[in-house]
Amino acid sequence: MSYEITLMTTMAISVLFALSLNFISGFCGQISLGHAAFLGAGAYTSAMLSKASVPFLLTIPAAAICAALLGAIIGLASLRVRHDFLAITTMGVGFLFVGIIRQQEFFGGEIGIAGIPSSGFGKVGFMLICIGLALTFALFSLYVRRSWMGFVFKSIADNEDVTRVLGIDVSRYKLIAFIIGTGTAGVAGALYAHHFRFVGPDSFGFVESVSVLAMVIVGGIGSVWGVIFAAALLSVLPMLVQFIDDYKLLLYSGLLFAMMRFSPDGIAGLCNRLFSSIPRRVSANNGDKR
C-alpha cells in the first residue's frame, strides 16, 4: 500500500506542476523552457521555512507568493521579447536560477537542503492534500477556459498582434497567465519538498523543465485532460519500468520525438481525430478540446 501511496502522491504533484505550465504555455501560448525554476523557488522557500519550524500548511502560500513574485518579474521581462526569444530567455532564467542557488551556502549550495520535516499529516493525509490541490487547479483551469479570460488567452496563443488590434491589453493578460502559472508551480514545489524531503540544485534544472514541457505537449498543448493524463503517466513511467532504467531517458526522448513527428497536438489531438468520425457539435465557445 505504501508504494502505491507514494506513486499517487508523485503523480498528483506532477499533474499540478504540468497544469501550471499548461496555463502559461497551453492556454496562453507562451512557451517556457525554464518552468522548473519556479518549482524550485517554491520548493526551497517551503523547505527553509519548514526547517525553521513554520507549519507545513503555512509554507504553501509562502511558496506560492515567492514563486509568483519571481514569475511576475520574468513575466514583465518576457513582454519585451517574442516567441523564439522567449523560449531561450526562459531557458536562461532556469539556468540562472540553478546557477545562483548552487553558489550560495544560504541555499545549501551544491548539496542542497536535506532533512526537510514531514508534513505532519501522515502519508495518506499528505497524498490527499496533493490530490486535492491538483484537482482544485484542474477544475480552476477548466473553468478559466470557459471564461472570457480563457477566450482571450486562446486568441493570444493564436495571434498576438490581432488580439491587440481587437483592443485587448495583451501584456496584462500574459502577465496574469505567468503569475498564476508560476505561483501554482510554487505550490507544487512546496509539495515536492515535503514529499521527497530533500531539495538540491540538480532537481530543478533544464532536464526538469523540458520534462514538464514534454508532459504538456504530449498531453496536447492547451488540453487540460490530455495534460493530466500525460503528466500522470510520464511521472511514474520511470518508476514502473525500472528494469529499463538505463534506457529510460532514451525511451522518453524517443517517444517525445515520435509525438512531435506524428502527432504534435499530443494525445488530445489523437483522441480528437479518432473520434472525429462522430459528428461533432461545433462549440461556439472554446469549451471542448482544441
Binding site: 523564439d84 526569444f85 523560449a87 531561450i88 540562472l96 545562483i100 538505463d246 531517458l249 512531435m260
Partner: protein, 288 residues
C-alpha cells in the same frame, strides 16, 4: 599580465563558441528553427575525431573525416527530422530538436560508455611562452587559427561564388530565389552541411584541448550557443560571431570576479538576459 591571459583564454573559448554557434545561426536564418540538436553533431564530431585519430595516427585526417561525415549527418538530420515539421508551429521543431539531442546524448553514453574516450597520442600538446609565465598551447593556437580560416573561407564563399549568392538570396527571400531558379532544397542541404561540419571541427578541437570526449560535452555548449545566437540577434552572422567572442572573454573574466555569485555557465544567461532587457532585438538584430 593576468588580464591578457584571461583575455586570450577567453578568445580561445570564444572561437569554439563561434564555430558551434555559426551552425545554429545558419539554420535559424534560413528556416527559423532553433536547432538544439546541433550540439549532438558537435559531440559526434569529437568522437569521430578521436576514433579516427587513434585508428590512423593522423590528426589531420581525423579532422577532415569528422567534418565530412558530420556534415552529411547534419543533412540527414534535416531530411528526417526537420523537413517533415516545417509546416508546424515553431515549438514543435524546438521540442523535436531537444528530444533528438537528449536521445543522442544517451546513444553516445550507451555506445561508448559514460566515461568517454581520449586520444592515445594527443598531438600539439607543446606550448610556446608568450611572455613570462604565460604559456599558450599549440592546440589553443590551432583553435584560434582554424576558426579564423574557416570563417574567412565561409565569408568568401558566400560573397564570391554563385552558390554563396544563391544561399544569401534564399535566406533573404525564398520565393524570389525560387523564381530565379535556385533549388531551395539544395541550399538547405548545403546550409546544414556547412553548419554541421563547423560544429564537428569544434568538437575535434575541444576534444584536443581537454583530451577527452564524453557524452555530455555537448549540453552546455548547446545551451550557450543558443544564448549566443539570441544575443547576437537571431539570424545575424556577424552578431553571432561578436557575441561568441564576447561571451568567451566575459566568462573568462567572470569566473574569476563573480564566480562566487554565479557559476560559470549561468554567466552566459545572465549576460543574455541583461542585454535583452536593454536591447530586445539582440546586439545586431534588426527591428523586432
Amino acid at each position: 599580465m593576468l588580464y591578457l591571459e584571461l583575455f586570450i583564454q577567453g578568445l580561445v573559448q570564444g572561437s569554439i563558441y563561434a564555430l558551434i554557434a555559426l551552425g545554429l545561426t545558419l539554420v535559424y536564418g534560413l528556416l527559423r528553427i532553433l536547432h538544439v540538436a546541433h550540439a549532438a553533431l558537435f559531440t559526434l564530431g569529437g568522437y569521430i575525431g578521436v576514433i579516427v585519430s587513434n585508428a590512423t595516427g593522423s590528426f589531420t585526417l581525423a579532422m577532415i573525416v569528422a567534418m565530412l561525415l558530420v556534415g552529411f549527418a547534419g543533412m540527414l538530420m534535416y531530411k528526417l527530422a526537420y523537413e517533415p515539421l516545417l509546416s508546424q508551429p515553431p515549438y514543435v521543431s524546438l521540442i523535436a530538436s531537444i528530444a533528438l539531442f537528449i536521445a543522442s546524448e544517451e546513444i553516445f553514453r550507451i555506445a561508448f560508455g559514460p566515461y568517454g574516450l581520449s586520444y592515445q597520442t594527443p598531438p600539439l600538446q607543446g606550448h610556446i611562452e608568450l611572455f613570462s609565465g604565460f604559456y599558450l598551447k599549440y592546440a589553443e593556437i590551432l583553435v584560434m587559427g582554424l576558426s579564423t580560416v574557416l570563417m574567412i573561407t565561409l565569408a568568401w564563399l558566400s560573397m564570391r561564388t554563385r552558390t554563396g549568392v544563391a544561399w544569401r538570396a534564399t535566406v533573404t527571400d525564398p520565393d524570389m530565389a525560387r523564381a530565379f531558379g535556385v533549388k531551395i532544397q539544395n541550399v538547405r542541404y548545403l546550409n546544414f552541411f556547412i553548419g554541421s561540419s563547423f560544429a564537428a571541427a569544434a568538437g575535434v578541437l575541444v576534444a584536443l584541448l581537454n583530451n577527452l570526449v564524453e557524452p555530455t560535452m555537448g549540453s552546455v555548449a548547446s545551451y550557450k550557443a543558443l544564448a549566443i545566437i539570441v544575443l547576437g540577434g537571431l539570424g545575424s552572422i556577424r552578431g553571432t560571431l561578436i557575441a561568441a567572442l564576447l561571451l568567451g572573454v566575459l566568462e573568462s573574466f567572470g569566473t574569476i570576479y563573480i564566480g562566487h555569485l554565479l557559476d560559470r555557465d549561468a554567466i552566459a544567461f545572465a549576460f543574455l538576459i541583461l542585454v535583452l532587457m536593454i536591447r530586445p532585438q539582440g546586439l545586431m538584430g534588426g527591428k523586432l
